[in-house]
């Protein structure tokens, strides 16, 4: 038990936070799985168009990992397999029909867990499509099942702008969560940490669970990112792997073990200034965006983001919410060009620097749109990145080392401690409009390629 205060960072003053009210949506008639949600996975299909599938039936596996399955979120007919550039599979669409049939998996009681081997348990999770919830640091990808984690981090907080509140997502899931933690305990001799926001109201009910060490974090974003937690609680040594999971995903794993059913329930926050009312909906895994927003969108020209404005991915209205995401953010698109914007006071512009007249009203929130607000330039470091970057890494030198493809130097500077979500706020704040996340991922990919 410890409290960590994060000082460098910023909670963006963006309007459109999800209100705690529950919104009603219809049961979605179609569901989608997006193989592109799974970083670094090359899908090998197990079904064809017009095949009938049931909930929890594997749709594809990962090339090179024949046991790592990705399952259908519903029961019906595979009506489309869509491909993007270079024939990469982008979407598998399942149109629901008939009774809700479901694959049945073995049910474990808690006492049984101790008696089965780690290999069996991981094979079970992989077969049931649960393994992708376990991600690892370094790299921020699906965990390699052949390496035992030195430490497991369960993230019970989310400080990203307009993100779903993990406490609401975890409402009533204490039993599932307890079981999930119990399963994870089988995989490591090291500690399991649960990180929670420091609140005066105390910890949420799911935190009362045996087998985890609770740590509290306070301060602005990125105090809720697992990269920040690892840095403070237990930095990794070379060749060590940490597993990182979100609390809600631990509960899903627990539910899978307890019921033998592929868990398809999803609580989703609908947020952003592009919708008329924000709130939470109870729906299913693989829900299409159109089913979530229905007629709530104010303007035609908006961007749908599966996830948050900092790390989410853009989806079409006809697209689907991502596998890992519990937030749908809708913000306005804009290409408006301001007349001599560089010289004007800027009463309505939002900047982390006090560079516009708007800084006289620090409590104001802003309707941010998707404009970049500037041209791409060489690095002119006025400390904009450093002020919002919470890791013990000299980020500007790390970025330069990656750009120079000097991998050895990049690793010395802490490349393996960073993923794109850790630098998202730096990219937001960058006056030179550089895409730091892209650069970090390029560095990580290079490293993986050279260390196969």
């Amino acid at each position: 038990m410890a409290v960590y205060t994060v000082r460098r960072g910023k909670d963006l003053k963006i309007a459109g936070a999800p209100s705690p009210q529950e919104l009603k949506v219809d049961d979605p008639p179609v569901l989608g799985v997006k193989p592109v949600d799974f970083l670094g996975i090359k899908p090998k299909l197990l079904i064809r168009e017009n095949d009938r599938v049931v909930t929890g039936q594997p749709l594809f596996y990962a090339k090179g990992h024949e046991k790592l399955m990705f399952c259908s979120p519903g029961c019906g007919i595979v009506t489309a397999i869509r491909r993007g550039a270079r024939r990469v599979i982008t979407e598998i669409e399942v149109t629901r029909s008939g009774a809700e049939d479901s694959e049945t998996f073995r049910v474990f009681r808690e006492s049984e867990l101790a008696n089965i081997s780690v290999e069996e348990l991981s094979a079970h999770l992989m077969h049931g499509g649960m393994w992708p919830y376990i991600r690892q640091r370094p790299f921020g990808k699906i965990a390699n099942p052949s390496i035992s984690p030195a430490v497991i981090f369960i993230n019970g907080m989310d400080t990203e702008p307009l993100a779903a509140d993990p406490c609401i997502l975890m409402d009533g899931r204490e039993e599932d969560f307890r079981m999930g933690v119990r399963v994870l305990q089988e995989f490591t001799h090291g500690p399991i940490y649960l990180t929670l926001p420091l609140k005066t109201t105390g910890d949420p009910p799911f935190a009362q669970v045996a087998g985890v060490t609770v740590h509290h974090f306070t301060g602005p974003h990125p105090s809720g990112l697992v990269g920040t937690h690892i840095r403070h609680i237990r930095p990794l040594k070379p060749a060590e792997i940490a597993w990182t999971l979100r609390a809600v995903h631990v509960a899903d794993i627990g539910s899978f073990i307890r019921t033998g059913k592929y868990p398809v329930h999803r609580t989703v926050a609908i947020s952003g200034t592009g919708v008329a009312e924000t709130g939470y909906v109870h729906t299913r895994l693989g829900v299409p965006v159109s089913a979530l927003i229905e007629h709530r969108v104010k303007d035609e020209w908006v961007r749908y983001i599966s996830g948050t404005v900092l790390t989410g991915s853009q989806v079409e209205k006809t697209g689907y919410l991502g596998f890992y995401d519990n937030t749908l953010t809708v913000i306005p698109e804009s290409e408006k060009r301001d007349f001599m914007g560089w010289a004007m006071p800027g009463w309505r512009k939002y900047s982390l620097l006090k560079a516009y007249a708007s800084c006289v009203n620090p409590s104001k929130t802003y309707h941010l749109d998707t404009r970049i607000n500037g041209g791409v330039r060489a690095i002119v470091n006025i400390g904009a990145w450093e002020r919002v970057f919470a890791l013990d890494v000299h980020i500007s030198y790390l970025i330069r080392a990656i750009l120079a493809e000097d991998l050895e130097e990049a690793c010395d500077l802490g490349l393996l401690e960073v993923t794109e979500e850790d630098v998202a706020l730096c990219t937001f704040a960058c006056p030179s409009k550089m895409e730091l996340g892209e650069i970090i991922r390029k560095g990580l990919d290079l490293y993986e390629k050279e260390n196969l």
Partner: protein
């Protein structure tokens, strides 16, 4: 729906400069002009989907806003000094008029020559014109004497922009501050026009000049003093004159109050590093203080107190507007403190110990510009070593 704010005529003109258009070669020039009028309207393609409203244009604009107070006081002071030298009847508007008459041509030359090279190199490199010169172009006329010959200024700017910046790859890639390099070029190539006692005051042709007229700067008076320097200096310029800026010197450097206002604006906005500024001031005050205390019989420059040093010469201007240049200073927070302190220390050494020039700020900053990568390297190695140590545990 997209680009609804743009007029068809605008689009037609734009097409001339796009790929395949007859003027495609001059696209950087067109882009610079276009984004001068209208901010870019491009959208993010991937996460993060929202971006800060700051861009390099705005950063540079803020520095320019911060340069306005010393510029105004500088313009006034040119006229003030001229009127005093001639013993003419004083009038505020006459002072402003003389000041503008001197300053505007210098400003036009600075921007004209500098932007010319900037655009030429942008067209050669097929890149957007960077905003780096916007600040440099205003800094340069503020750090030269009002009497600087125009051709010398043009040559010095050409030298500094091409050899100090463009050969390294343009804005963001330079090793030393471009404005200071311009001044250093003048300082070594045409020393008679940028130092001594006769360059700081513009004299009107045909006007009477008193016989005993000299216009030594407080610093050179300090260097020449044989006993305690302060009484000699304050006999001519009061501390208030130095603070407000009614003393001879380079155009923008004289008014300390105006510089402090500019510094406050930049630090508040977050475009200048307070670490560098405080580091510099601490370095100068600590070193000069120590030298006065340790010297058995402080005379001349040794006798000046740390506060006197702050009030004289171009130290404060150099520190606030040029030592903080984000490109040529260290990027690590620790590095900024070290860099600043060493600039203050070097300035003190050059001012007090060196017999040749009374002012050392320019050379101190240029020297530390060159050392900035080394300072950062050292700080970054600490971080690397700490990481290795953690791993070894």
């Amino acid at each position: 729906m997209k680009n609804s704010s743009k007029k068809p005529l605008g689009e037609r003109i734009q097409a001339l400069y796009h790929k395949g258009g007859p003027f495609h070669k001059y696209w950087p020039l067109f882009e610079a002009f276009e984004t001068f009028l209208f901010s870019v309207g491009t959208r993010t393609k991937k996460a993060p989907h929202i971006r800060d409203a700051i861009d390099l244009k705005r950063v540079m604009t803020l520095v320019i806003y911060a340069l306005i107070p010393p510029m105004c006081l500088g313009i006034y002071n040119i006229g003030y000094q001229t009127i005093n030298a001639h013993g003419m009847a004083f009038s505020f508007w006459l002072a402003i008029w003389i000041g503008l008459k001197i300053f505007i041509p210098l400003l036009v030359i600075s921007y004209g020559v500098g932007m010319f090279w900037e655009i030429v190199f942008s067209i050669i490199r097929k890149e957007e014109v960077s905003e780096g010169y916007l600040v440099t172009g205003l800094l340069i006329p503020l750090i030269v004497p009002p009497t600087i010959p125009w051709w010398q200024l043009a040559v010095a700017i050409t030298f500094a922009v091409i050899l100090g910046k463009e050969v390294f790859g343009g804005t963001g890639m330079n090793i030393v501050n471009v404005a200071l390099l311009t001044r250093a070029y003048l300082f070594f190539a045409h020393p008679a026009w940028i130092s001594g006692d006769n360059v700081w005051i513009y004299l009107e042709k045909g006007q009477h000049v008193p016989d005993a007229f000299t216009a030594a700067t407080p610093l050179s008076m300090g260097a020449a003093a044989t006993g305690d320097a302060m009484p000699v200096i304050t006999a001519k310029y009061s501390l208030m004159d130095m603070f407000v800026g009614l003393i001879p010197g380079s155009i923008g450097e004289t008014s300390k109050i105006a510089i402090l206002i500019g510094a406050a604006l930049m630090v508040f906005a977050g475009v200048a590093s307070l670490r560098v500024i405080l580091g510099c001031i601490a370095g100068l005050m600590a070193t000069t203080g120590l030298m006065t205390v340790l010297h058995p019989n402080p005379t001349g420059m040794f006798s000046l107190s740390p506060v006197d040093h702050l009030l004289m010469g171009g130290f404060l201007f150099g520190v606030v507007y040029m030592a903080t240049d984000p490109v040529s200073s260290p990027e690590t927070f620790t590095g900024k403190w070290v860099y600043g302190f060493l600039i203050g220390m070097m300035t003190a050494f050059i001012r007090v110990v060196n017999p040749a020039y009374p002012e050392g700020t320019m050379l101190a900053i240029l020297l530390l510009n060159v050392f900035a990568p080394l300072i950062d390297y050292t700080v970054v190695r600490w971080n690397v070593r700490a990481r290795r140590y953690r791993h070894a545990q």
